[in-house]
Subunit: 98 residues, 4 copies
Amino acid sequence: MTDPSDHCHLALDPTVRDTARQRLASIRGHVEGIVRMLERDDVYCVDVLRQLKAVDGALEKVGDTVLRSHLHHHVTSARERGDADLIVDELMEIMKYR
Amino acid sequence: MTDPSDHCHLALDPTVRDTARQRLASIRGHVEGIVRMLERDDVYCVDVLRQLKAVDGALEKVGDTVLRSHLHHHVTSARERGDADLIVDELMEIMKYR
Amino acid sequence: MTDPSDHCHLALDPTVRDTARQRLASIRGHVEGIVRMLERDDVYCVDVLRQLKAVDGALEKVGDTVLRSHLHHHVTSARERGDADLIVDELMEIMKYR
Amino acid sequence: MTDPSDHCHLALDPTVRDTARQRLASIRGHVEGIVRMLERDDVYCVDVLRQLKAVDGALEKVGDTVLRSHLHHHVTSARERGDADLIVDELMEIMKYR
């Protein structure tokens, strides 16, 4: 039996949370840079696409860090905790996009 | 013969540039929201991953809009302009990540 | 402590294995169809790319089915079994490509 | 004005076609190998996922080769030929999946 309320206790590891927050603050700065870049009327399409690709790669790294932590701290212990079905459904939904 | 200097004239279409800038400003706000979310010590991993996925989808839409404009305005006319080799190399490099 | 030899016991679920085998047999037929398609000297690039995309989608579905079964039967019980580190490393390596 | 019938003349480059056919014949063999692998009742999920990943990478290489050829021979000359709108629509539809 899965119980969604169990999830209240599955908090993101504090160290990973700090790392993720710092990297996302840096990604926000990167996105701001692209917004400014798009104010120039001679900006070249491919330069924009390259910057978007860089942001995408940075976001993916943050996602990998959070995912690894989730697998390590919560997914591998789901059977013991009794919420395996819910944990697997959530994972499959999230990983579909990758 | 391709001439990189030709690229100075290949500016992103103004309407697409406006749309992209507005959407990226909104994406920046979304990223700020995730940074704040990561300040809560009970934040759940999967909720972070869902937000990252939403940002990723929004970035992809911006990229699609810029790419479509680039294909329409610059790639399909590359042979006439004489920079087809360079245009194709750039595209293949950018599309590899998708 | 992780022990790679534990993995000898982590067999793919028989029902999922049957489904995966049948779908892959069908995918093999699809690939054969593309090989024959490529014998025609008037074949259009985009038609080939569409077929490759269809095969890719079919492979992804097989992968999702195997991944879900692995998460359900092996990953959620890794902590009990004692091979959580190895299980997580394997998953991160495999999911990087998606 | 775009004219779909123009596409009858946009055949895949013969050299690229030969390369793609040979690689796909090899990919078909790889898929057959996975089908046989799935007949063993002790096959490990992650080994299957690794093989699917390898096939996916090989398909992507074939796709890249065909796409590069299409960009080089057909897309960059679309404006001259007069089917730019159709060519761009086709490309955006195909590239969405990547």
